[in-house]
């Protein structure tokens, strides 16, 4: 618990092939409502996993537990080998976990470039902030120096600022948003806002990328492009990717491993073909009356 974020990062780098994101028996309860029960998950580098389930199944709750928005009632979440129960979302993000949101949450009044720069910066300015008191004092001191550099406009600060801009511009280019560089995020068309959110998440230099319904509201053509893009990102940035998605074609098309949730419980997991023919999954999606009328697994 006393290890700083940087130490944890270093640890993660010496163990290649280890799970980057791991949930062990995670349960979360809001009052009497069991939003998630005994949830297990393990994402390695190069994985492309899907998390599906009917509305209200607990998919977004799972994302929120993994990213530190909610604290698990039971079980533990590990990011890069580090137990992150009780950590704040920004600390978990610094370990290498980035996400997008189901309902787009861009910094609407900021330009596309600045949206990405915010994320790039948060990672670039990684101070030894941890949980222990020593790390906190050190972090505060680093921060203090950092503010003075900005206020005095030192050459080092200017250099950092230029590098940030370049880094952000590269990410915009990757996501095909270069032409929107100085446009306010709220003025971008819907599909581009979705892409900008991914660019912003990539700005934090994640190891694992969580995409919350990236294809929501997209047309068939855009969805096809998105599938290609997600695969490309995984390979180019050496990521593990976890996707929540309603669009079965997309999930079955790109995911190599799928976890199905219903009422907070994991009802199936495995390869797409296996999941698709699972009786419980069909029941959850189409109701048992469908099963009765069609006589078992379709």
């Amino acid at each position: 618990m006393n290890a700083s974020v940087q130490e944890a990062k270093a640890q993660a780098e010496v163990e290649p092939g280890a799970p980057l994101l791991q949930a062990d028996g995670v349960s979360i309860q809001f009052g009497g409502l069991k939003a998630l029960t005994n949830f297990n998950l393990s994402v390695r580098q190069g994985d492309l996993q899907g998390l599906i389930g009917p509305n209200g199944a607990g998919k977004s709750t799972a994302f929120n537990v993994l990213t530190g928005v909610y604290q698990p009632t039971r079980g533990e979440v590990r990011v890069a080998g580090q137990r992150v129960n009780q950590w704040l979302p920004h600390q978990i993000n610094h370990l290498g976990l980035a996400r997008t949101f189901q309902n787009i949450r861009l910094f609407r009044a900021l330009s596309a470039l600045d949206n990405v720069k915010v994320a790039c910066r948060a990672q670039g300015a990684l101070h030894p902030e941890g949980v222990g008191l020593g790390a906190k004092v050190k972090g505060a001191f680093f921060n203090y120096c950092d503010w003075w550099r900005a206020l005095l406009l030192t050459p080092r600060f200017q250099q950092e600022e230029r590098e940030l801009t370049q880094q952000a511009e590269r990410l915009l280019e990757v996501m095909g948003l270069s032409h929107r560089r100085d446009e306010e995020a709220r003025n971008l068309p819907y599909g581009e806002q979705r892409r900008l959110e991914i660019a912003r998440a990539l700005g934090t230099q994640p190891k694992v990328l969580l995409l919350d319904e990236p294809a929501a509201g997209m047309n068939t053509r855009e969805k096809a492009d998105l599938m290609v893009l997600i695969r490309k990102l995984r390979d180019d940035f050496k990521l593990g990717v976890l996707v929540i998605e309603h669009d079965m074609k997309l999930v079955m098309g790109i995911c190599e491993h799928i976890t199905v949730l219903d009422h907070g419980e994991t009802i199936a997991r495995g390869a797409p073909a296996q999941v698709r023919s699972d009786r419980k999954v069909i029941e959850a999606y189409l109701g048992d009356s469908y099963l009765e009328s069609h006589g078992g697994a379709a």
Partner: protein, 354 residues
């Protein structure tokens, strides 16, 4: 998909990077000296401009919290009071001391600056203590806590002998000069601008836009909120210190909730997030009563009306706000700055933030 090549702002600048940090200071100092010389013989203008300057500092510093970070603080007068009383008491106790190696006037100014800084740091400390618990939470808690803080400070001052109770402190050396006030105005504006143009500023804007997303993107939202609040409190303390050194007497009545609201009105009127707006609105709202007074005097309305300006001031502010909310809810400038609204033929500074 290719972007047209936009030259980076640095590429166009003729100033070497190592000098860009201090350049504004080099420009400002002679201007301030000139300013001081022009005003040397006009006590009323000096007083009025000093009040304007103090209000600009207050508005611009509050704008860092209320505008850029999107939090809602309504106890700025409390921090101003802390700065005013701490530096006032310090100046009073150092009244008879002079630094022997300096001429008397210079020694006074050095001690004055010292008192200002102590007042500012005290206010910043209060800001830290108030901000740390309340900024962890989202929403309106900060407003409630700052409101309470402002009142607590006022009550504490009213009941402490060292601060002169309700009578206030008098006899504080009148060391303030227009040059000193506007030097701090300059510093406040410079700091506000530099924050906006830096990654720290972007993080603050990100918090204003969407706190959950900012946190998820690795921004330490609580840390940034507290830091912006501390910086803002520091400058409020400085403003209070300056104020204490040019008015004949400071008493708890100068730092009431009404004063806090006045500053909030300035920020909202100017546009939440616009430093230019805060400056313009602070100047306008400070000079407005004087303007009304002269107007009534010229109109020859009964003398009583001109004297009642101070009482009709708040209703006028209220009316202004209502009109503004109907006509231009984002404030005079919105989040824009001076160079965004200048006509196109004037060479523009490229925007840091859209």
């Amino acid at each position: 998909m290719e972007t047209p090549a936009i030259p980076a702002p640095e590429a166009r600048s003729v100033v070497p990077p190592s000098l860009r940090g201090v350049l504004p200071l080099v420009v400002a100092l002679p201007v301030l000296a000139l300013f001081q010389w022009v005003l040397s013989d006009a006590p009323f203008a000096t007083y009025l401009l000093s009040v304007v300057g103090v209000n600009i500092i207050l508005a611009v510093s509050l704008n860092i919290v209320n505008g850029m970070t999107g939090q809602f603080s309504i106890g700025h007068a409390g921090f101003m009071a802390v700065g005013a009383y701490i530096s006032g008491v310090m100046s009073l106790s150092l009244k008879d001391i002079a630094l022997s190696f300096l001429p008397v006037a210079a020694s006074d100014q050095v001690l004055f600056v010292l008192a200002l800084l102590v007042g500012g740091v005290a206010a910043a400390l209060c800001g830290f203590l108030v901000g740390l618990p309340s900024l962890r939470l989202r929403g309106d808690y900060l407003a409630i806590v700052t409101l309470g803080f402002g009142e607590i400070i006022r009550v504490v001052v009213q009941n402490t002998d060292a601060f002169g109770r309700a009578l206030g402190l008098s006899g504080i050396p009148q060391s303030s000069t227009p040059a000193m006030v506007y030097f701090w105005v300059f510093l406040t504006v410079l700091v506000a601008r530099r924050i906006t143009g830096s990654s720290h500023g972007r993080s603050l804007w990100a918090i204003r836009e969407d706190e959950v997303a900012a946190e998820a993107m690795g921004v330490d939202t609580t840390g940034y909120k507290v830091r912006s609040f501390v910086i803002s409190s520091f400058f409020a303390g400085i403003a209070g210190g300056l104020f204490a050194h040019f008015v004949p007497i400071i008493n708890p009545g100068s730092f009431t909730f009404v004063k806090s609201m006045e500053i909030v009105v300035m920020v909202v009127l100017g546009g939440l997030g616009s430093t230019t707006g805060a400056i313009v609105a602070a100047t306008f709202l400070t000079l407005l009563p004087e303007g009304l007074r002269s107007l009534f005097a010229v109109l020859g309305a009964e003398g009583s009306l001109a004297q009642k300006v101070d009482q009709i001031r708040m209703p006028v502010y209220g009316l202004l706000l209502v009109v503004l909310m109907l006509a231009r809810p984002q404030g005079l400038f919105g989040t824009k700055e001076l160079w965004d609204v200048l006509p196109r033929w004037i060479p523009r500074k490229r925007r840091g933030l859209a």
